[in-house]
């Protein structure tokens, strides 16, 4: 029964950046992530996993944390792309990862600038199969 609850995931993508088009390419017919029963949703209340990618300033970080608080049953966070993992390309003093690590649990890191769609699918499937 627990396996059933773990298998159906709703993702919410926040931020804006180049990773977004490769994340959403996963919805297309070639990669077709819906066959693993993974959906992208629009509202934080429905989401299980938060995908953090792209560029953030102070205002953006506050909004991400707000979104995380609004999620009714959060399972964790996937951090995608170099801007989140390492350093922001355009603002060197960005402390996004430190902010995130201090407040939320990061489930999976997907490196790459931007990562390929296969890498993103692999990360989500790893989360699904962990039990």
């Amino acid at each position: 029964m627990s396996a059933i609850f773990k298998s159906n995931l709703n993702l919410l993508v926040t931020g804006y950046g180049c990773c977004k088009q490769d994340i959403f390419a996963v919805q297309g017919a070639l990669y077709d992530i819906q066959r693993f029963c993974i959906n992208f949703v629009n509202t934080p209340e429905d989401a299980d996993l938060l995908v953090v990618q792209g560029f953030y300033n102070k205002e953006g970080i506050i909004r991400v944390l707000n979104i995380y608080e609004r999620m009714s049953n959060p399972r964790g966070v996937i951090a995608v792309g170099t801007c989140v993992l390492n350093k922001n390309l355009f603002s060197k003093n960005s402390k996004l990862l430190a902010w995130l690590r201090s407040t939320v649990k990061i489930y999976m890191y997907v490196p790459g600038c931007p990562p390929r769609p296969e890498a993103f699918i692999y990360a989500v499937l790893r989360i699904m199969n962990e039990s």
């Binding site: 931020g15 804006y16 180049c18 297309g28 017919a29 205002e59 390309l89 355009f90 603002s91 003093n93």
Partner: protein
């Protein structure tokens, strides 16, 4: 024969620009410090006190008539601080950059003051006042950034009466992420590697713009093969961008079959790009003096094999979309951009062409070597959402035609001119470069020192489209806002470069 393609003859615009320069010197006289010609634009340096007089002269003089407000940018560094204002004219070839030197302390306040002064002449300048503009307004609906690429970099504050939008303000507070001097201590080849993030929907164009600006400074002439490789990539990226646009429209309409078919075709294009450059969306492929890697014969035959498939499938997508009366009814007569509004806000590219103005840098200027190839620039008439979608389809077919011509006449020769990049030394100078990217005219202004780039200003066309979005959603119903803003093809990376962040 090679020399004809390598820009030995002066362009027709160049002669005009010389005349214009002497005209301006005569009209403006002692109000300005200096007038110099930088690439496609004229640079006018002036003290901040004279801005009002100069702009008035530029706008109201019947010989100049600079009626288009291109944009406004700040540049702040240790060495120099200045504001840069771009004005253009729809009637002649005039395009000027006004440069005002500022003290480093008061650049933020003077930014707002300058926007105030310009606001008397141009409506679009009011956008640059930033947060202070929105603070006093009363709105009853606040739409946070959306999920889709293109709608995710701004808030919209709306004053609505029932479901009709009366007033709208766009607030880009989320997208101010750029450091003032992100290019400091950066070598030029590092800058080429990261600059494609400024327009990630079509990543080749910022690189191309930067490299061709530096080539202009170095007076470097490209080989024919390098030019053809660049053109091939430009057209492939243009097709990819337009398909991305159409699939986003399908996504908003929840038109599943169009969404999925566009995705398939886009993946096909991205596959071709990947075989050439090694990366899907951010190529890092253009180098100073040529390109990074040669294109093999196998790749060309691969493209040749895929072209008819692409043509057939995109034609099919167009057919099923444009035969569906539901889609036509949904898109028709919303978000109408009239000719005058489009020109007033300085919109370029397909959005301008959809409202009936023929404007294409590929045709007008000698851009790479598009002169060799035969193609037409599609022009619309109505300027509504439907027209903008149709224009994209027609441009895709023109691009496919261009790709076909390019791979059939692919010249032999070197793909790069060997230059000693780590020890490159420039003649210090100023250059501005325009380029026709899928959203409009992409502009780079830079001042080059001996080794490094001292100041760099990037201005994308999406900023103007976004400012105009504020105007055209007035009077539309709430459900159509997403659709109208998406149909302007906004690339968030260019919004990022429009406003520098003030504090972290």
């Amino acid at each position: 024969m090679n020399d004809i393609n390598n820009k030995t003859y002066p362009l027709p615009g160049m002669v005009f620009r010389e005349e214009l320069k002497s005209d301006l010197e005569f009209i403006l006289k002692d109000k300005v410090d200096r007038i110099t010609s930088t690439g496609f634009d004229l640079l006018i340096e002036l003290p901040p006190e004279n801005l009002y007089v100069v702009v008035k002269e530029l706008k109201e003089n019947p010989r100049l008539r600079a009626n288009i407000f291109g944009g406004m940018n700040t540049c702040k560094s240790n060495k120099r601080n200045f504001l840069l204002v771009n004005l253009r004219s729809a009637y002649n070839d005039l395009s000027v950059l006004l440069k005002m030197k500022m003290q480093s302390d008061d650049i933020e306040t003077s930014y707002i003051e300058t926007a105030d002064i310009l606001g008397e002449f141009y409506k679009a300048a009011a956008f640059y006042k930033g947060v202070s503009r929105i603070a006093g307004c009363d709105f009853n609906i606040e739409i946070p950034p959306g999920i889709l690429d293109g709608l995710d970099c701004f808030d919209i504050d709306i004053y609505a009466d029932e479901d009709k939008v009366k007033e709208a303000w766009i607030d880009t507070c989320v997208s101010k992420v750029l450091d003032y001097e992100f290019y400091r201590d950066m070598k030029i080849y590092n800058l080429i590697a990261i600059i494609s993030r400024f327009d990630w929907k079509a990543g080749i164009f910022p690189e191309l713009c930067l490299c061709s600006a530096i080539e202009e400074l170095l007076k470097l002439k490209l080989t024919r093969r390098a030019q053809y490789i660049r053109m091939l990539l430009c057209e492939l990226f243009r097709i990819s961008n337009h398909l991305y646009f159409i699939l986003n429209i399908c996504n908003i309409l929840q038109y599943d079959i169009g969404y999925s078919m566009c995705h398939l075709e886009r993946e096909r294009i991205l596959g071709l790009i990947e075989t050439i450059t090694g990366s899907r969306v951010v190529p890092n492929f253009i180098r100073i003096g040529g390109v990074k890697r040669n294109i093999e014969e196998e790749t060309l035959s691969d493209i040749r094999k895929n072209l008819p498939l692409l043509f057939e499938n995109i034609r099919r997508i167009e057919k099923i979309m444009m035969d569906d009366f539901l889609i036509i009814e949904r898109l028709e007569n919303i978000g109408i951009i009239s000719k005058n509004i489009a020109l007033e806000y300085g919109v370029t590219g397909p959005n301008l062409r959809a409202s009936g103005v023929r404007n294409d840098l590929r045709k007008d200027n000698d851009f790479i070597s598009y002169r060799d190839l035969s193609f037409t620039t599609p022009v619309g008439r109505e300027g509504d959402c439907l027209e903008r979608v149709i224009i994209r389809f027609r441009e895709i077919f023109q691009s496919l035609k261009l790709v076909n011509q390019i791979i059939n006449n692919f010249p032999e020769g070197d793909y790069i001119k060997k230059i000693n990049l780590p020890h490159l030394e420039f003649q210090p100078g100023v250059i501005s470069q325009d380029i026709e990217c899928p959203h409009g005219i992409f502009k780079i202004y830079m001042e080059v020192g001996e080794r490094n780039i001292d100041s760099l200003v990037i201005k994308g066309p999406s900023v103007n489209s976004l400012i105009m979005g504020e105007e055209i959603i007035k009077g539309e119903s709430l459900e159509d806002i997403d659709l109208i803003l998406m149909s302007l093809d906004i690339s968030p990376g260019e919004i990022m470069s429009a406003q520098y962040k003030t504090e972290y």
